[in-house]
Symmetry: C2
Subunit: 318 residues, 2 copies
């Protein structure tokens, strides 16, 4: 079993990444090609196949050595049908039969998964969740992604919308507008984009109290300013931890995992931010699970997607 190899493919709006991954979750190769979605979905499918071949070549193996392939793509998607529907960052793609195409091209068992779910599965398989039986992952970036794994099973949902944790509602009165068109979503409060937006609003409301520059500011700048003692920034960071804790609490009161895990750029803020999230989880959650749930950062970084996608392929043949 240790000799089986898998290919993981992680399709993003900017790059298509692929890796050969062994049975212990170690990548043997990593390749990256530009997605260029504007060239259309036929070209996109060709690039995916090219990335698979390049990863196999870079690992010095043959297609025959590959037991299964896993493909992770951003939503929206129909997991049961193996289709990418119409993701905003893969425009103008529409109803792309990814699983069928990869499976036909390489004649291998092919798994198809949401990218956040795949990243969560990667962390669960060989990352921060390795020693836990259940896990909820929040990925903090431009948006807030989510993935839920319960006992080696990805909760994809009946309609491919399991783990869409960025869009649970945490505020019903005057909720912040979310990129999804709804209001009050966790993502509208706790994504990197929301951190910048909330900071801008605070700067406008209280001019002169912070050294932050509203016009050229990233979420990292906000976290750095907070660490350097900027009170306004510290308040933004504090509230961000609170919002994430409410999201975690809602996940705990729904699926009650052994581990709540946070991934993405914002985790560079370090252990203090994680501790703050943990403190607020205690404040807003039943004591019994709050005292027992583990709260950790992800450890696989940008490899989580390809490793998790490969792991999804591996699940098919396990």
């Amino acid at each position: 079993m240790q000799d089986r190899l898998f290919v993981g493919l992680d399709v993003g709006g900017t790059t298509i990444k692929a890796a050969v991954v062994d049975d212990l979750g170690q990548p043997l190769s990593r390749v990256s090609l530009p997605t260029l979605p504007e060239r259309g979905q036929e070209a996109g499918l060709n690039t995916m196949a090219e990335a698979v071949r390049a990863a196999i070549g870079a690992a010095g193996i043959k297609l025959d050595d590959v037991a299964a392939i896993g493909v992770a793509t951003p939503g929206s998607m129909d997991l049961a049908a193996g289709l990418i529907l119409d993701p905003p960052n893969l425009k103008p793609w529409r109803n792309v039969p990814v699983r069928q195409y990869i499976s036909d091209t390489f004649r291998k068992p092919t798994a198809f998964q949401n990218d956040a779910n795949a990243a969560a599965y990667g962390e669960f398989w060989v990352g921060a969740g390795k020693f836990y039986r259940s896990m909820v992952l929040f990925t903090l970036g431009t948006g807030v992604g989510g993935g839920i794994i319960l006992e080696d099973r990805i909760i994809e949902g009946a309609h491919s919308h399991g783990g869409e944790l960025g869009h649970i509602k945490i505020e019903i009165t005057n909720g912040r507008p979310c990129g999804c068109g709804h209001r009050g979503c966790l993502e509208a409060y706790a994504s990197a984009t929301a951190v910048v937006q909330r900071t801008r609003e605070a700067l406008a409301a209280r001019p002169g109290v912070s050294t932050l520059d509203a016009d050229r500011m990233t979420s990292k700048d906000v976290f750095d300013a907070a660490a350097a003692g900027d009170a306004l920034a510290a308040e933004i960071v504090d509230r961000t931890a609170f919002y994430l804790a409410v999201g975690a609490s809602n996940a705990i009161h729904t699926v009650d995992p052994e581990l709540v895990c946070f991934a993405g750029g914002m985790t560079a803020a370090g252990p203090e931010f994680l501790n703050l999230i943990g403190k607020y989880i205690h404040d807003v959650t039943f004591a019994w699970p709050a005292e027992r749930v583990a709260v950790r950062y992800a450890v696989l970084g940008s490899d989580a997607g390809i490793i998790g996608a490969a792991g999804c392929g591996r699940l098919l043949v396990s």
Copy 2:
């Protein structure tokens, strides 16, 4: 397989109900004994055993005919350990080894489950969820209970807190105080108790606009008044549907079930209320799952607990 019989036991603060249930989920007997928790947990355990014997007697069968027993109790509990911890409505019980006691007394495989989870499983097995593969149930009573079943598996959680859907937070700013001690919980907005409380507040704020009597009013009175054209009551009912839709939406964006089901007294409000919830689910949820999820009332009524508990016993020997 059709001949196997099970005993379901549903322990509440007021009564302990038991039934013999056949392999198709049909109760062959129903008995009910007063719980009298104030007499202590030893007496309580004896009453549970007595209820099991009475149900077996009432069904005209023998203990030998029973394949397994299932016990459902209110939280808090430690499902893995088989313990009732310290539920508010079973005071002064504390750390009661229910599963062990029933298993030792009757020498049968004994399942132990949260009462809301058991009721959800009953509906899933032979009730409103019979033809679905996954379901989230909200039970609307004094509080808001929840249960989640995915592919014949009850999501109990790593720390017995899966499906505590009454305590997901839907409001982070000035959230209504909840009986659990936290703020902004769904239960604080959408339980029968909350309906009455919100109506009282509305009556105090707008005296004379409604015929409702703030001093003697149940949630049913509020729903009846709404149906009879009382505008203030109609507004309360409308908001209640909205709050429940937000709860449902959060469950959809987390586990994305085939069916969202509502149980409890409030469902007497009829199809209009259910349609209102469905409309608001569409308003606050991604279109793909919102257009596909089924939204229904439960059908088993007060039998859901005993049938579900028996079903949990059946799962042990399936």
